[in-house]
């Protein structure tokens, strides 16, 4: 860990003002940032502690949705009765992630920004375009069991490791931010993440110094909600494949569907083609297979992660059965 200066912000305005240089970063839960700083994968020269800002509340909005403060810990969000009642897919996703200790510390805002668990990203002795654009990608041609099959580029096949953001994509969340100049932004989660392309170091559309203050969930969607996560241990492991699904069946047909995926993509994945293959159809193996075809049409395996493609297909079909069954 390189040394840094430390400032504790007491107001949101002060926090964004304190990010006065490129090397400065916010710290809240710190569970991923400190993890990476210890390995000098992240080397901020200044930390602005936002952990005491008044962003720890969950509030109901008039439209029936929720506004979640960026500092609400994962554990509290998962256990919130309103989340459990209206957005169980979010609660389930959170509970499927990490450990009790980590969920007590990790925050809503920070979890959106969790970085990949790619083995090579974590080892500064190995070339990585995400750490250092242009250095090369060690995962291509190396071990990539946990890495992405969707949205990759020739420069990076890292997976977004999160669970919560997958559920939030299925729920059409909006991310509310405050920029250094005092401007507020509302960014749809669908526009929030970037594909790696030739700049895998840039993972979101956030500008330098831009602070996530809240996440808004629209009014709860109709239909059944499921989060299914497949991993290498029964608990405390990152997803190989996960599915967040919200599906409504009416009059024997799929009236609406929102499906997002973890473990598969460079970002929490959602593809309108999957839903298009389902909506208006009667739930059937043929419709589910068509949805899986749509999801995986452009999937590309890199050797040790090839299995994710057939696995994703099976998990999606089984999850759709659960979402639409009696």
């Amino acid at each position: 860990m390189k040394t840094f200066t430390y400032e504790k912000a007491t107001t949101v305005d002060e926090a964004v003002r304190d990010i006065d240089r490129a090397g400065a970063k916010f710290i809240a839960g710190g569970t991923n940032l400190l993890d990476l700083m210890k390995l000098q994968v992240e080397t901020p020269d200044k930390l602005v502690d936002i952990s005491r800002l008044p962003l720890g509340e969950i509030e109901e909005r008039e439209d029936g949705g929720l506004t979640i403060g960026a500092l609400v810990p994962n554990a509290d969000l998962a256990a919130d009765p309103r989340v459990i009642a209206k957005y169980p897919v979010l609660s389930r996703a959170l509970l499927a992630g990490a450990s009790g200790q980590l969920r007590n510390k990790a925050t809503t805002g920070g979890n959106l920004l969790q970085r990949t668990r790619c083995y090579y990203f974590y080892d500064t002795a190995m070339p990585c375009n995400k750490r250092e654009p242009g250095a090369g990608c060690s995962a291509i041609g190396g071990f990539n069991r946990i890495l992405a099959v969707l949205g990759t580029s020739e420069n990076c096949i890292a997976t977004h490791p999160g669970d919560m953001p997958v559920a939030m994509r299925a729920l059409d969340a909006t991310i509310v931010t405050l920029k250094a100049d005092g401007d507020k932004r509302r960014i749809s989660i669908h526009d929030f993440y970037r594909l790696p392309g030739d700049r895998p170091d840039l993972e979101t559309v956030l500008e330098p110094g831009e602070l996530i203050t809240h996440v808004e969930l629209p009014a709860p969607p109709e239909g059944r909600q499921v989060y299914r996560k497949v991993r290498d241990r029964a608990s405390y492991a990152f997803a190989l494949v996960s599915v967040a699904g919200v599906v409504k069946v009416a009059d024997g047909k799929i009236a609406s569907a929102a499906l997002a995926f973890g473990g598969l993509g460079s970002m929490p994945w959602r593809d309108g083609a999957v839903e298009a293959a389902l909506v208006g159809q009667a739930p059937s193996d043929a419709a589910f297979a068509a949805a899986a075809d749509a999801l995986l049409a452009d999937a590309k395996g890199y050797g040790s992660n090839d299995f994710k493609i057939p696995l994703a297909r099976r998990v999606l079909i089984a999850t759709l059965r659960e979402l639409t069954g009696e």
Partner: protein, 181 residues
Amino acid sequence: MRFTINGQSYQADVDIRTSLLDLCREHLGLTGSKKGCDHGQCGACTMLVNGRRVNGCLTLAVMHQDDEIVTIEGLGSPESLHPMQAAFVRHDGYQCGYCTPGQICSAVGMLDEVKKGWPSHVSDDLSDPTFDDGEISERMSGNLCRCSAYPNIVDAIREVAAASGDAKTAPTSREPAEAGA
């Protein structure tokens, strides 16, 4: 910097990079909290910050000057063990002892979470979780034990939970939940 740990005040002049864990172990003589991985992947450093279980390795000491911190030393002493510590001895909920302080702090924090009604990954009903061995195992999965005293740890926690008299931690029997419950 000033800290309140196990009800005692401490003052320490430490490197800004010092983790809460290293503060305890290297500067305050509180070596009960262990370092197993330093990356939140083993749970050996689990301590209670304002009553909540967290990984002491993944947070900076400087961020906790206003917090009430409890480490294993604050739960009990060899002469006067906390009920959870005593249960771990009775059930052999450890072998080498290195993960043990973290397991015990985690168990104490975990039971508070259960009492608050918090669900887990294996809860069938998120709004009314039952409490059984499967729940204990899932909720304790952030604490690795390579000696694998897991079955004994579950026995110890189940016993303490039952003795607490709280309806929410009264053990029930159920087929352990399947994956993806």
